[in-house]
Structure formats: C-alpha cells, structure tokens
Symmetry: C2
Subunit: 703 residues, 2 copies
C-alpha cells in the first residue's frame, strides 16, 4: 500500500459550460487503494487528502460557530449531522454552538439568506480540515448545507477513535438540477417515506424532489376547490394541503426544491373517476388497479376541463412555491381521441392535423393557466411540439438524443432516461449514463440548456417497506453523476465507496438496511414453530432457575420457554379428550380417537419441521432441537397407540418397552425448561394399548 | 342443543358476609351448551339470558345518554368500548352522546362522583338489554364502569351482524379487593405495559393495581429527595414522578386503585447500592443480577434508615393517594443480622428476643412513619408479629390458612397464594383457589376480614414482549374467582368462555396474541433467507408485469422479488472475481478460485436450507422453493467446475451437458421474478472447465 500515507489529489477543473475534464484521472488513487480516506459521494470537484497533517477527533461534543447570527437552516443541519454521527458511533455526539475562538467547526457564509431554494443557487463551498479544526466557507446558505453534507460523510473510525482527517476541498456542482422523483400514485408513500428520502437526498447533494402526485392508480393531493378528486380517486391515501406545505418546508430546510407533477391529459383515470364528463369517452370510471398504459384521457375540447385545471392548479401553485410545475404529458395512447368523432372534428376544425396537434393545443391552454400563476411548465418528451412556450423544460424519459434535440431547438431539459431506478439495473449502468455524454455534438450554448437529470422511482413494485432498498444506495451514484465532474467515472472506485455511503444514508434515517417483514416467506416456519410452542408449556414453579442457572437479568428472554405459554389450549383439549374417551369405555371406534389422532399428526409434523429450524450449534439451539425432536417422538408413540387400539390389537412388549422409555425420557426436564403437558394422556394411551396397567381394557364390548 | 333457544338463568344470591350459595348451579347451562350467549367473565351474580326478546344491533354508531352532565370517566369508558368493538369487528364503531330519547344505551347513575376509587366503593350495577336498547343503572360512577365492562364483553357476531343479545343482569362483587400485582424490578416494565394491563384489569373488573416497585434487582421510582436511589440502583429504568401520577390517574379513570410496594427491610439490595451505610453489613453493593433470596437487609438499629424512609415514603405517600401502602417485609433470611454483633446486641438490649422481634420493631417504626401520612400498612405474611398495628393488612403468599389465622387475630387480609401467575400453572388451578374456601371455619366477623385477593406477576422471566402472555387470559379466571359468587366454579364452563375473553382483552389493547419476535429462534432461518435474497436480483426492466400478470395494486409486496435488491453485492463481487481470474490467465491455483469456491458454498447451503422454508403448496411458495433449489443446483455446478479446474482435469462431456442444461434452465425467468446475476460467470467457469469455448485454456502454464 505505497499510497496509504502519501498525499492524494482528486483534482478536476470545469471548462466552459458543463464540460469537465479530469486531470490525471487515471493516476488518481482509488478509494480501494486508500482505506484511510473517507468515502465521499459525490466526489468533490477538488479534493486534497493527506497534504496537511492533522485531524478532528470527535468526542462527546462537536462545537461549531456561525459567522452570522440567525442561520436556523445551518444550525439544524449541524444538529442532524450530530444525530447521524451518534447513530454511526453508537454513542452520543452533541453539537454546541459557540464562538469562533473555541469552535472545532467554523462556518462562514458570505451572503446568508433564508430564501427558498431556486434553480441556479450558488451551491459552492470550501472545506478545509486541519489539526483540531474544520473551516467551512460558502457564498450562500445552501452552499454551507452542501459543505455540511460532505463533512457528515467524512467521519471515520480508526480503532476506537472517531476522526475527520485533514483535507482541503473546493467544490461546486456540474449540473444545477439534480433530482429524485417519487411516484406516490401507484403505491401510496406516506410522509415518513418522503421525509427520510429528503434526508438522504441532502446527504448526497440532490436538490430537486419531483413528486409524481397523480396517475391512473390514485389522486394523491387534497383539493379544497374539488374535494371529490380525492374522495373518489384516492382510496383515502393522499397528502393534505398542510402536509404538502410541510414537505416543501422540510425540503427547503435542506436546500431542496419541490416540483409537483400532475400528469395530464393521459394517465388521468383517477381524475375522471370523479369527473367522468371530462374524459374523452363516457364513463363511469374506477381507480385503475393494474399497471400499464391506459386509455382514459382528458378531453381537450371541453372547456370544463380547463375550468377544473384552472381551479386545481391555482391551489397547487399556491402550495408549491417553486418556479417549475410538471404537467406530465406522457403516454397518451390516443385510443379515446380516435374513437370520439366530436374530438376528431375539433382537430379538423381547428387545423390541428392530428392527436399530437391536439395535445399541443392542450399544452398551450395549460401553459397559459400556469403562466398566469408565474410558473414555467415542465413535461415529459411528448410535450415537445411546435408552439411549446420557449420557457418550458423537457423531462426526457427517451434519452440523451431526445434531450439534445430539445436543446438544439432552444429548450432546457433534464435527463430521466438512464436513471430509472425502478428497473433494477446495477448502479454501474446509471453511473455511466450522462446527461451530456462525452461524444455530445452540442455547442456551448446548447449545452447550457442541459440542466441536469433526475432518478425516477416509479412505484408499481414498491411500498413503504421496500422503497428505500430501490432508491438507495444506487441513487448516491447517480447523485455523483449529476454533481461531480464528468471525468469522475471509475466504476470500481464508486463501488468501493458505496458501502460507506449506504451506511451513512442509514445513519441519516433511511431504512434500506432493515430486515423487512415478509409474512409470505416467514409464514410456514412461523406456523411450525407456533405449533411447537403451543404443544409445550414453560416448566412450573421455580424449576427454570435450576434448569438455566446461568440466566441473569440481562439474558434475553428469547427461548422456547419464553415463547411458549402456560396452560396450552391444544394440550388441555387433548387431555380432556383422552379423559372423556377413557370414561366412555375406551372404545376402538369412538370419534374421540380421531380427534386425538389428528392432533398427534399436527404435533408430529410440527416437531419434525421445527427441529430443522433450530440448526445452531450453540447450547440453546441444540436443546431446543432436542425438544422439537422429542415432540415428534412422543407423537409417534401416541399415533402407534391409536393405531393399535383402532385395530384391536395389543402393542407388543418389544414395542411398548422403548415407547415407554421415550415417554419417560420426554418427561425429564431439560435446559429448554419446557414440558409436554399431555404426556400423562400419552402414558394412558400406551397403557390402554398394552392393556397391562389399564383398568379399562380396550377389547371390544361395543361390537 | 335443546337449551339453545330456551331461557337460561345464572342466578346466585349472596348470603351473609362473603358466603355465596349457587342456586341450581348444576342445572345451569354452560357456555359450551349455549353458543348464542355472550361469554362474560367474571360471570355476574345474577344473569338472565333469553327471557326477553330482542337485541341491540351495533351499526356505525352507538348512541348513549348520561343521567348527569359531567361524567368524563363514563364517557371515556364508552369511548374505549367503541374502540374495542371497532377492533373486534374490523370496522368503525363510533360512540355518540345524545339525549335519552334517542340513545341505544341509557346510563343512569344515582350518586355520580369524581372521587378517587377507594376500598369499599359500591361497584354494583344493573344492566338490562331489550329490543334496541340497553339500560345501565348504578349507584356510583365506579358501578357504571363495571357495567360498561360487562357490556363491552357482550358483543357477539351472528353472521355479518354485530349484536348484544337481550339479557338482564344484577351484579355486585363478592370481594372488595381484587388485585393484580406487577413486579417492575426484576425486569423493567415501562409505561405501555402498565397502561395496557390497566385496560385489561378494567375489562375483567379487577380494581387494585399493586406495583412492586423496588427489589434487589432494581429501584424503579424517582425520588427527588434522594435521587441517588435511582442514579445507582436502577440502570436508568424507573418511573419518573410524573409517570407515577399518570399511572394513578389512568387507573382512577378506570375505577382502579394503585397500591405501591417498597419492599423493606429485605429484598433491599437496590437501596443499599447508593446507601451501603444503611445495610446490616458493610458494602459496597451492586445491583443484584440473579434470581433468589439475597442477604442485603436494611439495618433497623440505624436511625439513618428511618430518616431515609421518612423522606422517601413522604414523597411516595404524596404521589399515591390510596389509603394503603405496601412495605413488603418478606424473605429476610437473617444472615446479615446474625453476623452483626451490634445488631444482636441491640436485640438483647431492647428485649426483642430474636430477628423476628427486630423485624417487628422495624415494622412499628415504619408504620409510625406511614400513620403520620394517614396510610394503612400492608405487607407480606412475615409482618404478622405481635404489636403489628391493628389497621394493618396481610398480603398472604403463604396461603388460605395463614390468611384465616390473621383474620382470627383481627387482621384484614388478601390472598396472593394460589394466584402466582409467574409459576405457569393452568387457569384451572388458580380458578379453584378461593380466599374463603368452602370448608373455612371462620365465623362471619372473621370472614369479613378477608378482603379478597391478588394475582402476583413476579418478573424474573418476563419482559415487555411476553408479560401479557403470562398475565392473560388466566388472570380473567382469577378475576372471576374474586368477583363472582363462590359457587361459580365450573372449570369446563370457564374454559369455554376463556377464548372469547382472551380476544376481548386483545381488543382492549393487550398483546398476548402477538407473534413475538424471538431472534434466537428466527436467526438461522433469517440468515439462510438473507443469503438467498442476496444471491438474486429482481428481474430488470418491465419483465415482472409479464411474469406476474395477476399482480394488482393491492397485492402484497411480500415475495422474494420484493425482498431481494437490485445490484446484489455478493453477485457483483463474484463476477468481478471471475473476470479478474480470467484476465489473470485462469490459473488453477489462483487465490481467486478460493474466493469463488467459498461464495459458492455459501450459496449452495443457502439454497438448500431456504428451500425448506418455502413449504407452502400455493403457487408463490412453490415457485420460490424452485428458485431456492435452482440456487443450490447452479452452485453445485460452479463447485464442480472449480474442483475440476483445481485438479487440472477437463469436465467430461457427459457431465458438462447436464451442467449446461442446469445453467440454461436457471436463466429462464419464472413467476418468482428474480434472476441470478452471476450466471454468466458460472457459464464462463464451465467453459473454462471444459476448455471448449474458452479462449483461455486452463491447462497449466504457471507450473
């Protein structure tokens, strides 16, 4: 490891509009070769490690100072950093605002502001860590937040010590628009999902949350002018207006814009459930439960369509302060328009040529509504038709070529294609997708139209339990593509850093590392174990202390004895059934024999199957496996007896002897500290089957 | 079922002090014979079913009226009833206060009060349900709460209909003291455990929560005069004073008294951790981590002992308004007193005779402290010594004879013996234990001293996860013993009603029905399934919709495809290792072969073991089992190849052919909708091992 203690420089320069040239990229030390460096993602545009001596040692308190008094967003970000480090280290790291003389972390902001984040914010910052001190300098408040995200990732464990090593960073983003889209329509994603993903976005410097709020499968925002939209179109799962404002504020606190999307005129089933009169074919409609592209589409020839959109978009524009407003516009399959003679007549009468012309007419009407609200329109590729207002932005699912074509026509755009994290491609594939590929033939002015990109999380196959596993950690690699210089594209280096970032994301509150609860998988095991647990009881009186003498206050209560319960219902009923059978003359075709046989078969299988689960070689597992095996063995004995009784034959002495030994053995308490409360009944059955000790001979009187 | 539609009368009369005679008990219809009756527990002292026609049908709203305006406790109890019914029915049951003209439930209280519950409260009530209306009448507010508990249990499902059938009840308790004791010292039990168990107590008409707050293993209440008691004696697990007041208020709202216990002078280790000078032998002491009877005991000859108790009990008496105060007093083994010459000299000098005399001296000093606070002293059997103040109460762990002896000596008492639910005996045993057994020779006056009983939940073997399974449902049977007439003792009938009560308790918030999380049991399975999940990835692009065409919005996302993740790390590293091996000349003793072999062995075992878990016969389980089996099969192929390569032999054609078929088969997507991302590497290994398609022959160049 010759590089380990040497100094390393990750150095990139940005030339022209969006052109990044890596300097000596091939010679750069990769994270894998440099284990004493922190794993940062996105990589800063300039990073020097090891040139200076020193480090910050993180102890109980991280003291920090602020150059200006009232910086609640920065203070809150430092507090979150403290929380994340607390989770990471498993011990408390408090943060304390102090004066610059004593602070470990000095934060200086040239032009602090509490303005909402906006496209084009200056996000640059400098971070210099030397012995005992970190100095973070930024032009703007948002820049300081980006620097704090870097610092949050820079914590390293060296043995027992938690340190931030010396480093010098000058950093600014390659693209100004770095987004994550979350679809909350296909599967509903509640507030907690949105909030923790905003925390994740902040950690990797993403700055736009695009919320896909309506689609065929659900209308997910409250409208006060048209409450019927959610009343009929949401199954009750939608954000209230208070919640939407809460999301906007939560995002703004992290320097993240929120762009809402209301997909029109297609993907509109959930709209027309309550407003069938606005569809292009007669209703009624129901919320769509399947996945795919569907026919329902708003009728652009109906003035009531624009009246509703005007009401509703007016409410939404007030709630979402960002300058951009996404109207979807994708995947109208044309079926309803083609089938509607009135709509086709409208196309002809207005000289619109075809469905694309009609879609364009619709967009112009909608953009007029939004223009009155001071918004710039954003939409998927399909909106790029002649007459699209020049300030509109293309969100390209089609790809870099489509985006470049838009740029040539003067439209700004972002790239979604290549970052579809719902499609389960590896991080590598997304990482190597570039909004401005190296072979791009765009000129400098056209390149400036490429604002960046976004990762769409379509929600057909995700719910709150697993959505984080689909977004993270891969989206951290995408965030690096959007922020870091184009020359940063060493896949192995990215993968070497990814596990640490994955951990940092979980420290920030994301849940991709949680073991999900999947009843479909666990159910068969759970059933066998439940049957085992119900077949036994914890030992009585104070026996357990003797059987488990090592048990102390801190010993987990997680064994079969804890899991089973007093007064087992199945055992009690078995005992009652046996008693009733005995009192009824021990007949060989009493229905109670069937009841006992059925229960014994259940226990036999439960014992057999659950024994497989206790596969550990530790003492507790071995003992529990033996208990499960004993359940199977005594059930075998019981079944043998039932069979003999039913066949009116005596169990032979050479069979009865070992059978009795099995029952005797099972009666001896073991370190499992459970007992089989139906053992006396099995002894009784065995006696009856051998007719030796039984006062009620089983030989036929009833036939 | 001749009784099914006939009228049934459960009728008991109470004669004299505590003597109950069942009228025609033997002839009473048991619940098992009478499935259309609600399962009530405790059984009311008089219950007539089916004599009147009619029922209440419970729809969306239950309307109720109150005879007096301000009855927050009763309103809250009706609201809880609505919540429990909502849980039971799986649909919303709202409650709405209305006027008596329109109410389904009319509640009339003769003497409403907001006084705290106290021993001897009139708890009687009458409940009459006829067509469309229930009339609940009580002398007191607490009586009304008891009647509502009966009504809460009386809901029945008849097909789709939820009804309360016609009935006429006159009810009052046999004993005035009906307790549950919870030990929060041995294992800490937080607020949630206490609150949900208070809800359970209310449902079965228990009226005293006895909190065992200090013991050798933990000091569980905040003292403001002596914060060192918890600082050193609690591991940080204790109730704050605010929480204690919250418990008292929560209980009072349910008509339940709270009696605190501070066990002295024995069971005192957690006291002397912070006050070794008060022990009867020199310290230092540590919190006890084991179970049993231990030596540490307070020094009754030290005036500082009384100074501390006076401070601390003063605080506690202010927090716990009940008239009774439990000082424990049990199981002082005398070891420390015997070994302390100064203490033995004190005994001689004060003419106290022996250790029992010294304990008595201690009790008198303590009772004087409590008398000044207006409290009556309560303690375990050992406190019954000459000179015990006559207003003291014996909590008998020794049994009915000890209790009877105390009664003969004029002391009131309650029976704990027979109700030790920590000992895992069946409900039947507790049910047949009686504070006043049928063969009691006490006279009427002495009988009046027997106030009732309590079920002690000692906490050596319970934590918040399983404590409810130890308390419930057995304590419902104990509650019936304390409330219902003595003649109610049909075990089969009790067991027939118990499942419905168990369910009602869970509807009220108890958790004995929850599947507990026991990592010790689930860990081996979880590990195998995690390895399986990490070996596969969900299929790419939009394939899944085609493979699982029946999937709709409401289909649970709980299959292997949901559980696995994109970009499997173990698969990626395997592929990278294979590539590096190939590029390095496919050497037969490259360490990368070891890495691949090790991973393949892990997958082989994970496939093999996890296949056992998918044992269902449904389509999803079958498919997942096949996927697990495929993982095992392809791992076998890989291992075969590694072995051949290492042995420098070619895999024979007759082996290679089926091996290739196995890999081909595994590459075909199934309805599991996952894929094996390392399959290409296995194909490469097979090619290398057969040297057929490989450009890098494996035959030795390196040796």
């Amino acid at each position: 490891m010759p590089l380990k203690n040497s100094s390393t420089v990750y150095l990139f320069k940005q030339l022209g509009a969006g052109i990044a040239v890596g300097m000596a990229v091939a010679a750069i030390a990769r994270a894998a070769d440099h284990p004493s460096s922190p794993a940062l993602m996105p990589l800063p545009s300039q990073l020097q490690l090891g040139t200076a001596q020193g480090e910050i040692v993180v102890q109980e308190t991280l003291s920090f100072s602020l150059s200006s008094k009232d910086e609640p967003r920065v203070e809150a970000a430092v507090a979150r950093l403290g929380q994340a480090w607390t989770r990471h280290l498993g011990r408390s790291v408090r943060v304390a605002l102090t004066n610059a003389m004593r602070a470990q972390l000095l934060i200086t902001i040239a032009h602090p502001t509490d303005a909402l984040p906006a496209l084009g914010d200056n996000e640059s910052y400098q971070l210099k860590v030397s012995q005992g001190q970190a100095v973070l300098t930024a032009e703007t408040t948002v820049g300081a937040l980006r620097g704090l995200a870097t610092l949050q990732q820079a914590l390293m464990l060296q043995g027992d010590r938690a340190v931030v090593p010396a480093m010098a960073i000058e950093d600014s983003p390659r693209f100004p628009w770095r987004g994550l889209m979350i679809d909350v329509s296909r599967h509903w994603q509640p507030m907690a999902v949105i909030k923790r993903n905003l925390d994740g976005m902040a950690l990797v410097k993403l700055n736009v949350l695009h919320l896909h709020l309506t689609d065929d499968q659900g209308f997910r925002v409250e409208s006060r002018t048209h409450p019927e939209l959610t009343a009929k179109g949401s199954d009750g799962n939608y954000f209230t207006q208070e919640q939407l404002s809460e999301i906007v504020a939560y995002a703004a606190e992290r320097g993240i814009r929120v762009v809402p999307e209301f997909d029109v005129p297609g993907h509109a089933t959930s709209w027309v459930v309550s407003h069938p009169e606005l569809a292009s074919q007669p209703g009624p409609y129901r919320i769509e439960r399947h996945w795919g592209v569907f026919n329902p589409v708003l009728d652009p020839t109906n003035e009531k369509t624009y009246a509703l959109l005007s009401d509703f978009f007016g409410e939404m524009c007030a709630l979402f302060p960002d300058a951009f407003f996404h109207i979807g516009g994708d995947e109208n399959n044309g079926v309803q328009w083609n089938a509607n003679p009135r709509i086709q007549a409208f196309i002809r009468e207005h000289g619109l040529k075809d469905n694309a012309g009609l879609h364009n007419y619709f967009n112009q009407r909608v953009s007029e509504i939004l223009r009155r609200q001071g918004k710039r329109l954003l939409g998927w590729d399909e909106i790029l038709n002649p007459g699209l207002p020049p300030e509109s932005v293309i969100d390209s699912w089609r790809g870099p070529d489509a985006l470049a074509e838009a740029a040539r026509r003067g439209y700004a755009g972002i790239l979604a294609n290549g970052y579809y994290i719902d499609l389960n491609f590896p991080a590598r594939d997304h990482y190597l997708s570039d909004p401005l590929p190296a072979d791009s033939t765009l000129n400098a002015e056209q390149r400036a139209h490429v604002l960046g990109g976004e990762a769409p999380m379509w929600a057909e196959w995700v719910n709150p339990d697993n959505i984080d596993t689909r977004i993270w950690p891969r989206t951290a690699a995408i965030a690096e593509r959007f922020w870091s210089p184009a020359a940063v594209r060493d896949v192995a280096d990215m993968y070497a850093r990814l596990p640490a970032i994955d951990r940092a994301l979980q420290d920030a509150g994301l849940r991709q590392g949680d073991w999900p609860v999947f009843p479909g998988v666990a159910a068969p095991m759970a059933k066998a174990l439940a049957l085992l647990a119900n077949a036994v009881e914890p030992v009585k009186k104070y026996q357990r202390g003797g059987l488990q003498p090592d048990h102390v206050q801190s010993t987990p209560l997680n064994q079969l004895a804890d899991w089973s319960r007093p007064n087992s219902t199945s055992a009690r009923i078995f005992n009652e059934t046996f008693q009733a059978w005995l009192e009824n003359g021990s007949s060989n075709h009493d229905a109670r024999l069937d009841v006992m046989e059925k229960q014994l078969r259940v226990w036999q299988e439960a014992g057999s199957r659950s024994a497989d689960f206790f596969s550990g070689t530790d003492r507790v597992s071995v003992a529990q496996r033996q208990t499960a095996a004993a359940l199977r063995a005594i059930s075998d004995v019981g079944l043998e007896c039932v069979k003999a009784i039913r066949d009116r034959r005596l169990v032979a002495q050479e069979t009865a002897q070992p059978a009795r030994a099995i029952l005797d053995q099972a009666a001896i308490p073991t370190s499992t500290a459970v007992e089989f409360p139906f053992l006396p009944s099995l002894r009784g059955l065995l006696s009856a089957a051998t007719a030796r000790e039984s006062s009620a001979p089983i030989l036929p009187q009833d036939h």
